[in-house]
């Protein structure tokens, strides 16, 4: 994939900031730690363009930025039919009363310009309507085909300026696409942008594949495949399309995850009826066992600093969460609520661990602090499973499966996203059923 080249327009941004003499009085701001807030009205007119290509891209960018911000639940894009000031006039200077009149609190202006090298230069600015102040902006250059990534970067910049948190829109999701009858389900490794666009299947379904997870670079995926009938952990390289079995383990390997530095994969191996957690060093190809217990020890996930691993074990009688050092020392149980806890995933921010909980015949997605305190349940269902964090640690994706009758009717498996506050649950649309989502870091 071609990398977006940043025209380090830092200088331009600074210059703009100085030129804009408006004082920031009542700053446009969203406190995202509170749930169920009223979304902020924002006006996102088409980005201006001269040629047909520029106009088309300018229109499409505005659509994608609006959709990203709307899905976050924090913004409410205003219907463009209500706009008073024209796109052309906006390029000269925002006429703030026109935007106040339609209750816009924030305003986006932008421009698309084709450059002689065949690329497009996209300029964007965010304005505080009530303070009549410039808030942020940049200019980026990219291949015209990368207009979607540019759009997501605009949305990320707006999100960051208004909430104070990093965005998560220029990201991808890898997951398992599912089809066919329940007793012979065809599963395919699949990838898409976080908004469901640019979808593609990476495997054809001839082998059962499960539980994909991104490398920190987002260019590799580690997952479980039953290639030739033997369940093993593989690494799929998105740039080469090559797939490689990970390590020479005597037993079944599964439940893989990359370390935050990308140099290790932590996984489980099951042999002779015992499942343990192992670490595989990708540089030295050395493997070492991290747990040593006759119980089931699986689903390991690193803390963002790479110093600790959270995993699940039934060594205490039922499935519960434990934390040990990255070297496997001092396993300590952290979950003590009613029910069973599995699939722990450490937040990229380090402050929380997401999990799947089973209690009273229902499944839940929840979070708790690494010391086990502050448990909150965010989503519930007959089967909800497999939380994964957006890179800013504010949004989670998971999958939900519905029950079926004795002929398998009624089964559906869908991906969902939900805000950390437990609000704004949304279906993440996929071409066919989907499970086991994993969110990428922000694309470099």
């Amino acid at each position: 994939m071609s990398r977006t080249r940043f025209l380090a327009a830092v200088a331009a941004v600074y210059a703009l900031g100085i030129l804009m003499a408006f004082p920031a009085v009542a700053e446009v701001r969203i406190d995202i730690t509170r749930g169920q807030m009223k979304p902020m009205p924002i006006a996102i007119p088409e980005f201006a363009g001269g040629s047909g290509q520029e106009t088309k891209i300018g229109h499409d960018i505005a659509m994608v930025v609006s959709a990203d911000l709307e899905r976050s639940g924090l913004f409410k894009p205003i219907d463009p039919k209500a706009f008073i000031q024209t796109v052309a006039s906006l390029q000269v200077q925002p006429r703030f009363p026109d935007w106040k009149a339609i209750n816009a609190e924030a305003l986006v202006s932008g421009k698309v310009e084709a450059t002689p090298d065949g690329r497009v230069k996209v300029e964007f600015r965010l304005w505080d309507v009530f303070a009549e102040a410039y808030m942020t902006g940049w200019t980026l250059s990219a291949a015209p085909s990368d207009w979607r990534r540019l759009s997501h970067k605009v949305a990320d910049a707006i999100y960051k300026r208004v909430t104070g948190e990093d965005g998560y829109f220029d990201t991808q999701i890898v997951y398992i696409a599912e089809s066919g009858p329940k007793n012979d389900r065809k599963k395919r490794l699949s990838i898409m942008d976080q908004d469901g666009e640019n979808h593609r299947f990476l495997t054809d379904g001839s082998d059962l594949v499960l539980t994909p997870r991104f490398s920190p670079s987002s260019r590799e995926i580690t997952y479980l495949s039953y290639f030739k009938g033997v369940p093993r952990v593989y690494i799929f390289n998105l740039d080469t399309g090559r797939r490689e079995v990970l390590g020479n383990f005597p037993g079944m390997t599964f439940a893989p995850r990359f370390s935050p530095d990308g140099n290790k994969v932590v996984l489980s191996m099951a042999e002779d009826g015992n499942t343990e957690v192992y670490e595989m060093n990708l540089l030295t190809r050395q493997k070492s066992r991290l747990t040593n217990h006759p119980a089931i020890d699986t689903a390991p996930s690193y803390s963002p600093d790479g110093q600790q691993i959270v995993f699940e074990s039934d060594r205490g009688g039922g499935q519960q969460l434990y934390i040990m050092t990255a070297g496997g020392a001092n396993p300590n149980r952290i979950s003590f609520g009613d029910g069973r806890y599995g699939t722990p995933v450490w937040s990229p921010r380090g402050d929380l661990i997401a999990f799947t909980k089973q209690k009273g015949g229902q499944f839940f997605i929840g979070v708790m602090r690494p010391d086990g305190s502050g448990e909150r349940l965010l989503a519930e269902g007959f089967l909800v499973e497999g939380p994964t964090w957006a890179p800013n640690g504010r949004v989670l994706a998971f999958f939900r499966e519905s029950p079926s009758d004795e002929r398998g009717r009624g089964q559906s498996v869908r991906l969902y996203t939900i805000d950390l506050t437990g609000t704004n649950e949304r279906v993440l649309l996929t071409p066919i059923d989907g499970s086991d989502p994993a969110w990428s870091p922000l694309i470099p």
Partner: protein
């Protein structure tokens, strides 16, 4: 970008094409299912059909348990006797779980169940070298309902003759 996308897809398709070599029969939906017999045909002693119809190819487990129940031990004792008589077979024990668990835990649980079967057979004279195990976790149910009647059939260990 487009071209690159196509090349990735082509590579994936190529890989996939290489993968479609004949795999063992245990991986597909027919895995260990009771083979419907045509009424007229007689079952040859020592055949795979004989094993499934007259011995029983599967045992069942309680929820979240890997220990062998009395009925499972009875079935496995018959399996062991048959497998000692027809020593030419090697076999794969499939371990399965119901859908009421998380995916990775169920993979571990299935492996533990398959090994419980393997160990019982070994203790009753079936050489471990003849036996491989594979776990499918909750990925290959035989009963499709979302109720205990279905789940009790899906928590199983299946001896598949190669």
């Amino acid at each position: 970008m487009k071209l690159r996308f196509l090349s990735i897809f082509a590579a994936a398709a190529l890989l996939a094409a290489c993968e479609s070599a004949p795999s063992d029969t245990g991986t597909k939906g027919g895995a260990g299912q009771t083979t419907p017999m045509t009424g007229a045909k007689t079952i040859a002693p020592g055949s795979k059909e004989d094993f499934v119809a007259n011995v029983g190819d599967r045992v069942f487990f309680d929820f979240d348990k890997t220990s062998l129940r009395a009925d499972a031990k009875a079935t496995l004792a018959k399996q062991a006797a048959w497998l000692k008589q027809y020593a030419n077979y090697s076999m794969t024990i499939e371990g399965h779980a119901d859908e009421r668990g998380t995916r990775e835990y169920n993979l571990a649980l299935g492996e533990k169940r398959a090994n419980a079967v393997k160990e019982f057979l070994a203790a009753n004279g079936v050489a471990a070298a003849r036996v491989k195990v594979v776990s499918y976790g909750k990925e290959r149910p035989v009963a499709l309902g979302s109720n205990e009647a279905a789940w009790s059939q899906n928590r199983r260990g299946v001896t598949v003759l190669n």
